[in-house]
Symmetry: C2
Subunit: 308 residues, 2 copies
Amino acid sequence: MNADLADMVVRECGRRWPRGATQPPGRLLRPMLVLESAMAVGGDPVRILPAAVGFECSHVGGLVQEELIHRAVSPAADAIVAGNALLFEWFRALSECVDRGVPPERVTEAMRIQASTGLDSCRGTEMELAHTLHSGLDGYLRMARLKTAAPLAAACRVGAVLSGATPAQTNALAEFGDGLGLAYQIREDLKTYERNVEAVTRDGRGDVRVRRLSLPVLLAHDAAGSRDRARIERLLASRSAPDRLPQLVEIVRRTDACGTAMRMAEQHAAHARTVLTALPPSGHRVRLAGMTSTLNALIPSSRRHVDG
Amino acid sequence: MNADLADMVVRECGRRWPRGATQPPGRLLRPMLVLESAMAVGGDPVRILPAAVGFECSHVGGLVQEELIHRAVSPAADAIVAGNALLFEWFRALSECVDRGVPPERVTEAMRIQASTGLDSCRGTEMELAHTLHSGLDGYLRMARLKTAAPLAAACRVGAVLSGATPAQTNALAEFGDGLGLAYQIREDLKTYERNVEAVTRDGRGDVRVRRLSLPVLLAHDAAGSRDRARIERLLASRSAPDRLPQLVEIVRRTDACGTAMRMAEQHAAHARTVLTALPPSGHRVRLAGMTSTLNALIPSSRRHVDG
């Protein structure tokens, strides 16, 4: 993590949202991707800082929407409004880059990327809502790409475009973001199955996460014998199954689905690191590459007893 | 209504959304405002057509959100996603104007206007949710401005900016849109109280509309004696009041609140027509001015027995 750059982002967020109400609770991954991508191609972080913090708005806005969609309760009207406002703020912040001297044709290109990415996320969420065991691995990857990887690829792409990167550099950075995003989503999916069952049950969200079809279950279903397949199908279909999580965890672990998923995550992370070699060597390139394993380290060490 | 221009908008909507799923159900008011404003200052409608139809997306997206907010039921996840997608489409469509030869610095300015207007609408919705009798007439007008007038003013402003209008022309068109929007909102508020009570009750939305505090009730509360004021307060506060609508209608009519509201709408419409004289004379200017009374004519003639 580039501490100076991170400080700049945190200060800018604090300046914009002084009351802390909309203070980004995230790890500032997207703003850091925008800025490191920009600097990896010789861009000026000060000029594009508004666009970078704007990406944190899109992230928080997306989390609000996600919460609204996956909670079965009637939503607070305030949350709908707040989610919307954050998405508009994403574009308002981008428009400030013109005042800081970024050429307008780069800003309009960034707007196109943001809008398309927003639409991609919507399509990804739709896919997630319709996702079943029959969507298969391809369906899962398409969904993860639209929903999770697209926004990270967009952050890299916008940083590059606003800095006047060549098309080859821009595409390399976008491909890096795509790989990073896929690796990240797969590792997120793994968490539920690698943590201690009691811990997952305790936080009260375990069952929600389990029913949202994730990669380990999909892989376990692929690898399992007919009896386990039927059990998985039954467990996912039933409305209320108090022992759903421990049973799924048991099948997932027995079929080594977590090991398979972990290897897939590693492949996407490795690909992301490889495409970065198209950029000139720099500390920014090193830090971007590092993000593919930093995010890995965020997965609790408890996973180790699973894959060996 | 400029029939050729309207045809162009309808064809473009059909081309973009062939399945009719997101076919705009509205009266295409916002796209027409974008195009007529553009042409009133010498702009080319073909170049800015994507931005114009994009405004219909923002309109339909706003209606979806409105429905989600004011229904007490749990929302369909699909509706949240669709509402979002339409807002992103607003910006994606705008980005196409660059491909049609609109200078990028005009497009970035239009993006800034759209994003700020989106934020204004969010603030207006928040005000509406917190609105009480004590917000007074000023509170009502602030809310109506943010929620209803701002998007119409933005449509006019974007049409002007994309066409390279002078700042004076752009401001005149925005002020026109503001007056048009206020007149429109006030007339919308009037409908519930001017229609036959049975008709309002029959469509099942009467009570929802009545509880969403509207101008006639606010004016009646201002004009009424202490007994009627107390009655209004009681009627609005009670959770279930089957006779709420007829009782409110009776007080509203007795205090001539509809007459007062109608005069307010007329003042805003007249002001909108006046500011247009800053533009060079043209058929477009005439049609814009005409919109302030066309929308008037949409109010059913039943109103006449109220204010005369």
